[in-house]
Amino acid sequence: MIVAADPLLSGHVGLVVFLIVLGKAVVTLGICLIATMLMIWFERKVISDLQNRIGPNRAGPFGILQTLADGLKVILKEDLVPEKSDRWVFRLAPILTMIPAFITFGMIPIGGDFTDGNGGVVHMFGHDTLLQLANPDAGVLVILAMSSIAVYGVMLAGWSSGSKYPLLGSVRASAQMVSYEAALGLGVLAVVLVGSNDAGISSLTTNSIVSAQMPWGWNLWVTGLVPFVIFILAATAELNRPPFDLVEAEQELVGSFQTEYSGFRFAIFYLAEFLNAITMGAIVVTLFLGGPGGPVLFGPGWMWGFVWFFLKLVAVLYAFVWTRASVPRVRYDQLMDLGWKVLIPLGVGWMLLLVGIRVGADAGWNPVVTVAVAAVVMVACYGLLRLAGATSRRLAAEALDAPEGVID
């Protein structure tokens, strides 16, 4: 049942409840659209500051309406569908990138009173409810599924364009995003492992993940920081943000999957990219930074949920923008190396360590010995992995230097 965990729907579902749900849907959509607009402005403004530039400052106060102006312009542009493209898929692709971001955002607790074991429940119009559009039992699994579907948008866009650069980008997209999906999943798994309630049962719902972190048991340190780093790196790659923006890589592939898109279809890709950044930032906040939870300084508790959520989200997004301004882009093979040879082994190792500690705690093992054994095993595995990597590199280099076919 997709909406089961919300107390709003546990009782009688009447008109008021229906209107509340409808209102939440409208508000979530509105937040998504406005936040995207502000995110584009925020990114441009912050990156200008970091680069000694002024950035947008014409449209509206501090140029805050720049995105709106650009959007209006882009709607009026000619909408071109290339001759060689697969028309139907070509039109479908932008929608496939946009929708999952919206759906994911609907599952993020963006506010609510998480103090005193309230579990994020607020009271409005005579009903108890959560400040999130949906709270499905599958929770984070749905989020992972949505981020997988978003890959299809990029992949199909490149494939259906009927042109070489987009195709190269499409190939990169499928490989990159599928690989990092695994690392992303391992980061989430660590969160689910540690996030059990008092009864010792882990839940996948976003609401209970946030509740389990209250008041200061943020997964950032409860999981031991490593899953957070893995998740952030994988999320950056999943979002195609620098330094992992190989799928777009304007300097290499001329924008790749976006190359053949124009007008509003291009704008959808552009907006989806920023909306995805916001959604991913919100997921990071939810999974690792305690979501909307935080101390209530004064006034009603539900208000502070919004404030803390917003502050944490801005901090994460600022980190994304800061990274973009500071680092060059990695190469494709380096990216795959990082994913398969560093992040995934580390994620698996760390997950086993967490499992070991939990099982050890239940079985009454000596925690120091448990950790020491785990560390030795991990180092040994890492050594083996390095050896395998070095061997394969040497063989590849030999294959490239092989004399046959060099002079024909």
């Binding site: 990156i47 300097q251 500071s326 060059p328 060099v406």
Partner: protein, 443 residues
């Protein structure tokens, strides 16, 4: 199949008196040529590339440029790809060809500077200097020391702006957008000083036959020393942002490497040749201007890869700053051009009082001056390598033939060798590290 049959087959439109300009298939090439290109040059005509590849082919042809954002203008590369790995490359040039060398035959030696300055638009003062040095060699002129030092100062200032441009574009090509803005910022400051001295930000036409167009303006010392004081701290910033950055090193080290023998065989000069560890710098090997009187180091690399070429340019900025400081200190007094009435125009004030000055002024700017019959080659070390000018004079007021040996043009030859075996991302890094200026390639 003979070459003639091949030409008939392919209906080459571009037949000149030197034969077809398109490369013939490798089967028709001589042994030395094939050995030199070691399998990295793609010999494929446009019409062959247009055909759809057979379904079972493992490679594909992709066109990079002329509208690609990372080919530094209108360079076009036909890349043979296996997945994302580049196998063979065919550089295609000519998209910016405006016939400047031919135009040079119509212009007098006075006007020639305006023409050549437009070739390498990132470092215009170097082509001016090469042209003037060749003309002066034909005329047998001895340029006064102050003019030499001003020219040297202008060269080093221009080298700074050109290398800052490289650092900016190199950063941009590798996805470091901040570096682009930083490189641009420093270049702008340099251009402002150039503008203060010459009146223009580019296409200066400041170095003239017999000296320079004008003396240095008042207050140039303060302006220049403020700029020079700011640079070392900025370079430290770059070191933090790029040199010490692991991603940056991973992207550049070992990418696009070349040996000294290959570089010399292909005629590469400048940072490409120096990156292989061969200390060839015309400022040191064949000193012109006053380079034998200043103290500076020739920067060399050791691996011949993209990182060496980046590091060489970064450190050449430091050396240029050193030379500029010495210019500030030792700038001699005296004339900024020779007092030869036939070559240099009289000062404006003299025209009002002297009929002879008026006549000279009129003659120089209408028909120029006659240059004795003969030929001369003069070369300077531009930021990209050896920039030479070869002039043949038939004794008239215009060159019979003017040829520029552009370093970008010659350096482009090494591209296929640097690209082979790398990925598309490496190709971008390599093109950037060769730093071609298409205006000078196509002329």
């Amino acid at each position: 199949m003979t070459i003639a049959e091949h030409e008939a087959d392919h209906d080459l439109a571009a037949l000149t008196d030197e034969g077809a300009q398109e490369m013939s298939p490798r089967a028709l090439a001589g042994g030395v040529e094939v050995l030199r290109e070691v399998g990295s040059v793609l010999r494929m005509s446009e019409s062959d590339a247009m055909l759809d590849a057979p379904d079972d082919s493992e490679t594909s042809i992709i066109n990079m440029g002329p509208q690609h954002p990372s080919t530094h203008g209108v360079l076009r590369l036909m890349l043979e790809l296996d997945g994302e790995t580049v196998l063979r490359t065919k550089p295609v040039i000519g998209y910016l060809h405006t016939g400047m060398e031919k135009t040079g035959e119509q212009l007098t030696y006075v006007q020639g500077g305006t023409n050549v300055t437009r070739m390498d638009y990132a470092s215009p003062l170097f082509s001016e200097a090469a042209f003037c040095l060749a003309t002066e060699a034909l005329l047998g002129l001895e340029v006064p020391p102050r003019a030499q030092w001003i020219r040297m100062l202008m060269h080093e200032l221009n080298r700074l702006t050109s290398h800052f441009l490289f650092l900016g574009t190199n950063g941009m090509d590798l996805g470091s957008t901040s570096m682009m803005i930083y490189g641009w910022r420093e270049r702008e400051e340099g251009l402002r000083i150039l503008e203060m001295i010459t009146g223009l930000r580019m296409n200066h036409n400041f170095i003239r036959v017999g000296g320079t167009a004008a003396d240095l303006p008042d207050g140039w010392q303060e302006r220049l020393s403020t700029y020079l004081d700011a640079i070392p701290a900025r370079l430290e910033e770059y070191e933090v942002l790029m040199t010490d950055q692991p991603i940056w090193r991973e992207r550049l080290q070992g990418v696009g490497d070349i040996t000294t023998e290959e570089a010399i065989a292909l005629g590469a000069t400048g940072p490409i040749l120096r990156s292989t560890g061969y200390a060839w710098d015309l400022r040191r090997q064949m000193p012109y201007f006053a380079y034998d009187q200043v103290d500076f180091d020739v920067i060399v690399g050791s691996y011949g890869d993209c990182f060496d070429r980046y590091a060489i340019r970064l450190n050449e900025i430091r050396e240029s700053v050193r030379i500029l400081r010495q210019c500030l200190e030792h700038m001699p007094a005296g004339d900024y051009r020779i007092q030869d009435k036939k070559v240099t125009p009289p000062p404006r004030a003299r025209i009002d009082e002297s009929m002879e000055a008026l006549i000279h002024h009129f003659k120089i700017f209408t028909e120029g001056f006659k240059v004795p019959e003969g030929e001369a080659y003069a070369a300077v070390e531009s930021p990209r390598g050896e920039l030479g000018c070869y002039i043949v004079s038939d004794g008239s007021g215009t060159p019979y033939r003017m040829h520029i040996r552009g370093p970008s043009f010659v350096n482009l030859q090494v591209l296929p060798h640097l690209l082979r075996g790398g990925t598309i991302a490496d190709a971008v890094a390599v093109i950037s590290s060769v730093d071609p200026i298409m205006g000078e390639v196509d002329r």
